[in-house]
Amino acid sequence: MSRRAATAAALALVLATGAQAQERSARANYVLLCSGCHNVSGLGSEEGGIPAFPGSVGKIAAFDRGRTYMMHVPGVVSNSMSNAEIAAVMNYILDTWAPEAGAAPFTAEEVTARRKLPIPDIVVERREVTEELAAKGIDIATYPWP
C-alpha cells in the first residue's frame, strides 16, 4: 500500500498551477512542481521512495544514460513545463545540489532529444543506471522500488 501510494506521490508531482508554469524562475518552478516530493531541501523521502539529490544527482547527470534517465523520471514526465523550462530546472538542481560534480548543463535541445527516447519502465532504467554506475565504482542514492 505504502509503495503504491508513494508511487502516486512521486507521479503526482504537485503541479497546482502547471498551466501557468511560464514566466517563473527555475527555482520557483522547482518549488511549485518538484519540491512537493523532493522537498525544498532536495532530500526527498526514503520512506516515500523519493531519492535524495545531494551526492547523487550530479553523478547521474555526469553519465550519458543517466541524463536520459533524468528526462523520464515521473516529475519530468508529468509536469507542464516547456523543454526549456525543464532544462532550467535541471540546471537549478545541479547548481544547488551538485555544484562540484561537473556535469554539463542541460539545454532545451538536449531535453527535447532525450525525452523522445523510449524508456518503457523507469524503475528498470534506474536499476540499470545504478548497476552501470556501480560497475564504475560510483554509488548513488538509495532507491527502494523493486
Partner: protein
Amino acid sequence: MTKFLDRLLSGLDRMTEAKARGAARRHGRRSFLARAGGAIVGGVALAPILPFDRRANAAGAAAAGDECGYWRHCAIDGFLCQDAGGTLTSCPPGSSVSAVSWVGTCTNPDDNKDYLVSYNDCCGKPLIPMTTFCYNSKGERPGYRMGLYNDVNWCMANEAKGYHCTVSVVVGLAE
C-alpha cells in the same frame, strides 16, 4: 475629670475601631483583588481597540467569517490544523508533518504578490470531524492528470500514514 478623659479616650477608641473596620471592608485584600482583576480584564478587553498592525493575525481574523477564504488557503484541500490544536503553519502536538505535499501559488491581497504555499498534511493522529474543512484546490485537475491531482493523502510517505489535518506554509515567492 478622670471620667471625662475615660469617655474621650473610649470615644476615640470606638471611632478608630469603626474607621479601621470600615477601611478594612472598603479596602481589604479581597476588594483590592476584585478591583485589580476588573482592571486587568477590562484592560484585555480594551487592548484590541488600540491601533496596531494586526496583519500577523489575519488568519485569526478570517476565522470569524470565512476561514477557508484566507489567502494562504487558496489551493488547500483538507481540514484546518489551526482548528485542531495546531496553527496555520504547525502541526498539532502528537502529529508529524508529511514528507511530501501539494504546492500551490496564492496571491497575497496585502502586497498583490504571488507566493508558493506548501500544503503539508499532519499525520499520525485521527481526524477531528468538527474541524473546519476547506476545499479550494486552485489549479487542481482530474486524477488522470496525476501531476495536477491533489485528492491524495500526503501522509503516504510517512511512517504514520493516518491523516489528521493540513497546514498552509509559505515556502517562497512565485517569481
